[in-house]
Symmetry: D2
Subunit: 445 residues, 4 copies
């Protein structure tokens, strides 16, 4: 459930170790840029920085007594190098420099498949919105049948939510994903006069942002990424919730096209379970709690926190993983969504004409006033509901209505497909936001 | 604790009622802009839309049976108007249009004092950073004495965190605070052909953003504001946590200048409690849970949710209020912060020379190599710690050290104020971000 | 939405003030019990401890500078008393003693209507379970039509959940609601030799538990109450979620009987909104975040926390209020639930015989083996689903099936009401837990 | 950080798989108990149910398309058995029966090391409380020096919190850890008449509770365990927070005795980091968010939820793991805690006599009245604080004080060790709760 998409493998132990090694390698290269160590030495270090060469479990176990695995990793890395070269490793850095920068790399790498899957989901929504711009269906409020909408409008709403969250996530990442390099207490004193230039060099090497100052204990970057991920999860869960509801047997308006005979049940072979939608909801359900943990962890003491910092590592990994899985699941769900326009129309008809009451109010309002018309229609609707007849019959028995609306006008007012208001315009506006002039072709390829 | 600053009075029942009335008034004016109703009628409606004229408690009680207070308010508003004018009121809108747009107004109004207090807090940090650019103090990691920093660097970190969160909050508000106008199911059908233009008109009247389409069930706007507020709370709580720690009797490096004899205790007259810092921490402690509730509420059904939407109202109010209180408290704390530079220096001296070990490593590394130097210094430090002597003495008993560092060189390496690395540069960079060229004077007025 | 039931008025500012005054009064009486002050003085103090006599807003404002309102209240209380009597007030206590004990009183008083409403909701579930012990309906899993259940079984599940949460809440309250009396740092030193006996006396006066030692900074009591409240909210939300789903137009199996024409909509007069269910879901949605805040607040420093303690007050009030509102809403929903057994049966028929596949597997398994039978039935079900026919037809075309099951036996296997397994037994077991022998009559009165 | 103690290996993929296999084995044995299948077949099945024989990764991958791994596991298990025996496997059960019961087994097995470590932590607290019953130290409120307490009282508070949470957790587990067996929709229909007896048989085989009815969609059991775990985390984090504060260089009253040279720092060899305390705080920081996720997941649809159920699996595992790690870390921290009673005394002396103000108030109150005495002492304290002298001097300059208290009496009132109130009594009460008569010896072995 929690391992769909590409994010999971970017946040596992191996990925973290590789990211930490990448930081050590980049630090060596940055020092070579400054001319402080020979380029060849930096290259030797970089070549040694491959996760496969290390015993992940052993490093984790050794890390327990010092509180994090960096020291053990540095020791193991140095052991693989000639003594002279080994002396450059990690020099002047602190464990938090490595872990924080590695966390940013891990996040950056995990965000790639997440953003790609969110884009795929958005594109699928755009296609649904366009294809079903004219497909009428029941709108439902408080889970009650309400007034007609189009499926295109519903999909356009999904699109707007996902696109907004996706672009916010990328913008947040652009700002927030920065290197950390401040040494033991954030002064970078162990680098002598090189501190500021090494921060820039490390950022250059790793293609991360360069912060104005170390952020050892200022954790808005981590919490900001967490928020943006949780918002994306929420935006993806909205269509998943709708799909599970629309796929109910009694509604039957959409269903997921199964992957390889998926969606079945050990005990109920007839079922077509919305497997991807369920996975999205399961993953999205975890995001707010994980994000809240990272927000609460912003209250950090002095130059390195006693607990709050350490609580970030797994939480961030989990959040990237579950949101990645939600994005992959949503894409799968939306790309494979079978929409039954006929069933939408027939459900709309089956709902009866009571759902058109507002339309009649509107038709009457010009001559009777809005609120008097509403009162008349409400009364007719109640009579119809009580007597079991249609709203049309009840209205035709109302003299004030008959005086204003002739039969054909009333029929027009009771026609769902004539009461869709700005639905098409809203769809077009949402699509226009999604594909600014000139960008459409590339997006739809 | 939770009612400092101006936000509290922008989120109480009266403020919500006024915001709902403002939406009704603006809707009437927007219809007048379109020429659909006479301007004079719109003006009459607007004049009647004053919260003082309504019985808030009664509207709340009546709202219980319909699920929200809008219908009752509309009825009461119409009752105060001539029948012809009353007929324009709320026409075509749905309760959610009014409540959602009112929520955006409430948020906008509450954000003003919040942003102002956050600005005040940031400015106070900038002044502290500048004033204490050269004030050395102990850096502390995992609540242990570590290496020297400056108080200016600490304050610059606070500044960076608060400014980043403040500007993100304003940018989020700019994007997210939009009108809602979609009628019963988001098609705006009851407005006939006017739906799209009324959305624009309403946005113009209320100075809120115009959405591409209604967002009845796409709640990224609300959840996005919530995230940004929670991030600000976290950024404000960081200095509050530091202040409570630095104000400990055994540390004594800062204290809050009391307001009117505040900070006392019924049973302990000698205490100088960090009252504002405590209030910030108390308020900030509530933010992640409230934001998580709003994130979880993004999973909304169809065209209007059954529960998740309704859970937003109070939660958003509470979040605005507690973050507002945190911002006001942080400003108060920072503007009234008494910094004892002498005590900082004396604590730094009192920590002994063991905290300077890394500096000695650095001094030795050029000739001995970093890691061998570290090993030597570590051994000396252990001897010093065991024997109760100074690191200096232990180092002078180490032949390898004596061979490299003469007494005066060792003394220089043991001098805290000579081992501040890039602290000043980092402070300057943080201040340069805060006050771009030309903007400083206005900020400091 | 958040103010149904009686809890709201037990947690407002007035209720807190009265609770604080009650603690001061009880402390005076407890000292009179010990003979330390005249009984008449205690009575004079108790008589003055009436919230109506104080200016709540002013006390709140004065409390801002000291961090809590107790000192201001004590000053105001003393001012109303003769000097000699006034000298006994609050003597030796600390603000936290008063606030913590008041919080326990507030919780105790709010729990009464909460427990009563939860009992009412449970009783309504029990009646539904009993009445509909034999009412078949579709079971639904992953929101897909599955196999037959009874509505009685569903209601019995609701009952079990609510009863378990309700009894856990009462048991937790019994243990957790204790007086706090420890003076400034928990030694009760200002009471001289009377500390221990005063704790007992205060507990006796207020009918709260007597703790083994002060719990100034050990907050399991508060967090435990919070958990139990949140669990009750979840248990109440489960039936509310089911009611909103069963009340969908396309399902139509239950609906709320409206209160005074409630449940309507300004724009959709035909709707019968499940107003109470929505309120329950809205309130329950807030509980986990509030409880998490109180759990996070358990990490308190030394003898009184700087922030975490203060974050409890409003959070606990909000939690009591929203869970109280959820309990009242659930009771209202369940007591007024209209169950349409005919619709349940017709929906079950309309689902077709594919939902009976497992029953046929079972009928075949004796002779064919379970898994071979499942394979046969699955294949038939797929053919039926593809061809649009019934499972019965597809099975009759399967020679292996015909060889084992004659037509009437097959028909019996396809009869939903014959495949209800232990549904009745489970209902009876749930009811037996709910009403132990002899207690039924009093519960159903 | 998150893998201390024995819980981690009880919640990993292998442990889950074994638990699922254990449920299948137990189900076969329960059917043999009923005489429905031969005992030998049940034994053959049980013998095959060993996790080592299965490819965990493959089962996980296959589970993606059906939403959970049970079907794939059952297929793999059947493939290892003779066809006749294989036919008994999983017969009549549904995936949720296996997963829910396995979750309970996983929780039960993880709770063993968690409870053992919590017991160890409690025992260490009890020993500290007893040993330091007479060790005076500064009490601190709002992180300010307040009045004297004893370290024994502090440790007794830790003890009370941990013991209460531990016993609640065990009591909750006793009630909540139950088998699940209801088949596809909770009627157990596929078991024919055996449903009820199989529930009992399965409970007997697995030593789990027997529920009155299936709890497929009634999740109070899972959420209840979650709450109890989170409460334990909070109770463990309280002493961890205190230890980090007491271990500050400026305070120096406790420190962790390092394990194998742990607690060091790559850059600061002099540091003695409170590694275990930090780990406890990091782990405990995750618990409230995870528990909130499980509480929010209680709102489950119909007979099986679409998302909420599936969100439980990893969340519960994570929660068991982080609380297990917190318990192991707390035990380690408390068992290895070095308490510096001399430093506690010297810090108390160094705080000066202002902290004894309340004691003087008490000494004066008999003759002057409490509040007038407080006013006098407060004024003296202010003079002393301003002039930099002692409270004693300022009091001796106050005629009203001199009139009441002679020098030796004043000195007695200013003596911290004479103003410990009921501290010893409270310690004794806490210890008496912890070790009821007769049980002490076994606990201390």
């Amino acid at each position: 459930v929690f391992a769909r998409g590409g994010a999971a493998e970017q946040v596992n132990d191996r990925a973290w170790l590789q990211a930490m090694l990448d930081v050590e390698a980049a630090l060596a290269r940055a020092r070579a840029l400054d001319g402080r160590i020979p380029e060849a030495d930096a290259a030797t270090i970089a070549a040694a920085c491959q996760a496969e060469r290390f015993d992940i479990a052993a490093l984790g176990a050794q890390g327990m007594s010092t509180g994090n695995p960096v020291l053990a990793m540095v020791k193991a890395l140095r052991a693989t190098l000639p003594e002279r070269v080994a002396d450059h490793v990690h020099r002047g850095a602190t464990s938090q420099d490595i872990l924080d920068t590695a966390a940013m790399l891990v996040a950056k790498r995990a965000l790639e498949p997440i953003a790609a899957d969110a884009s795929g989901a958005a594109k699928a929504c755009a296609q649904l919105a366009e294809r079903h711009r004219e497909t009428p269906m029941l709108g439902r409020t408080l889970l009650q049948q309400a007034l007609p909408v189009t499926f295109g409008l519903k999909a356009a709403g999904w699109l707007a939510g996902i696109e907004s969250a996706r672009s916010d996530l990328l913008a947040t990442a652009e700002r927030a994903l920065a290197v950390q390099l401040g040494g033991a207490v954030g002064t970078a004193a162990a680098f002598g006069d090189d501190g500021v230039s090494l921060v820039a060099g490390l950022a250059h090497e790793l293609d991360l942002a360069e912060p104005a100052l170390p952020w050892h204990a200022e954790r808005g970057r981590v919490a900001g990424i967490a928020s943006a991920l949780s918002l994306l999860a929420g935006a993806l869960a909205k269509p998943a919730r709708d799909v599970t509801l629309l796929a109910q047997g009694e509604v039957g308006e959409v269903r997921e096209r199964p992957v390889d005979g998926g969606g079945g049940s050990s005990t109920m072979p007839h079922k077509r379970n919305p497997v991807a939608a369920v996975a999205v909801l399961a993953c999205a359900g975890r995001a707010p709690g994980l994000a809240a943990t990272l927000h609460a962890a912003m209250v950090q003491e002095h130059e390195r926190a006693a607990g709050a910092w350490q609580s970030e590592w797994e939480t961030l990994s989990d959040l990237l993983r579950v949101v990645g899985s939600a994005a992959a699941g949503a894409r799968e769900m939306l790309e494979r969504l079978e929409v039954d326009g006929e069933r939408m129309r027939s459900n709309l008809r089956a709902a009866g004409d009571l759902v058109m009451a507002e339309s009649v109010v509107r038709a009457l309002a010009g001559q009777l006033g809005w609120w008097p018309a509403q009162e008349l229609v409400r009364a007719a609707a109640c009579r119809a509901a009580t007597a079991g007849g249609t709203l049309r019959e009840a209205l035709l028995q109302t003299p004030e209505v008959r005086a204003v609306l002739a039969g054909p006008e009333l029929d027009a007012a009771l026609e769902p497909e004539c009461y869709l208001g700005a639905a098409r315009a809203f769809v077009d506006r949402a699509l226009a936001c999604y594909r600014p002039a000139g960008s459409w072709s590339e997006r739809t390829q």
